[in-house]
Symmetry: C2
Subunit: 178 residues, 2 copies
């Protein structure tokens, strides 16, 4: 560490809220927010962070950054949900990452105090929230980008199974609505 790193913020996370969704476990949960279109959820931000939500109402979409607390340990190679062969983890959106940090772009329906009502969700119920960022097309939208193996995926799966999560045997697999 050089001298100018003396003021570094330590790499230490604080949970700032909780994402409440209809998905108690991985099986049946959409694998991406686009595949959870229309499904509603609540983002409950801890009261102390509520003032930081001001001005968010004007955005159609927001990024949720969260900690995927129920995924299994890091695997360098995975068979992703949308393929039938193994890929390098960093070339996939699979959750068994070195840091299980997820990001989802969801539609913002409305703010009520410290609660954001959102739609198009793909996270498990109770997922710890780390950050919220506004979705800004000028920064985030690159519609023409080549997407490697995902441009011709080996599988059209849109909902998760239990391959990346240790699910409790005997729990209902799915509520039957998906």
């Amino acid at each position: 560490m050089s001298a100018r790193r003396e003021n570094s913020r330590p790499v230490s996370i604080r949970v700032v809220g909780t994402i409440r969704t209809p998905f108690p476990q991985a099986s049946g949960t959409p694998i991406q927010a686009v595949y959870g279109e229309g499904i509603e959820a609540r983002v409950v931000v801890d009261e102390e962070y509520s003032p930081a939500l001001d001005d968010i109402d004007g955005f159609d979409r927001i990024w949720l950054i969260y900690w995927m607390d129920r995924v299994e340990a890091f695997r360098p190679k995975v068979i992703p949900y949308r393929d039938i062969r193994e890929r390098g983890l960093f070339a996939t959106r699979s959750p068994t990452r070195p840091n299980p940090i997820g990001m989802s772009v969801v539609r913002l329906l409305r703010r009520e105090g410290n609660v954001l009502h959102v739609a198009d969700i793909d996270t498990l119920d109770g997922t710890p929230l780390l950050d919220i960022k506004p979705y800004v097309p000028e920064f985030d939208a690159h519609p023409g980008s080549r997407a490697g193996w995902l441009d011709a995926p080996g599988m059209d799966r849109r909902h998760a199974d239990a391959r990346f999560h240790a699910e409790v045997p005997g729990e209902p697999e799915d509520d039957g609505t998906r």
Copy 2:
């Protein structure tokens, strides 16, 4: 915590690499990757994670998720770089977040072993890397989204100043090329 949370992964971060850029400090650094167009950088992934980079070559763009280690503490209200009035932090991309997690979509030029050569960068030199995800337009590109106050920003600034970082007095402010 309910029973099914017993297998939770603790919220604890590991650094998986380092982003090497031409920007030693905030002043003069692009405030978003799009404003760093053409500027090249290296993402040096720790050797143990190198196998996880396989198959990444086919993607035009990747997300870098990183820890903004030199920003000041959380502020619920900020005057963002692209405005002249205060906004709620979560309605901005300003770095003084509860968790200073940054994400940038950069162009992937090529992979050499554990090093990714990228362009369009906006991070400080030496920034700790947390994750790499492929950029997938189907998941990430929503070009028509309304972007609140950022649709008519109060200021056209594209490079940072020292408002969110404690810079060392006497260090050169800028190399004059930006």
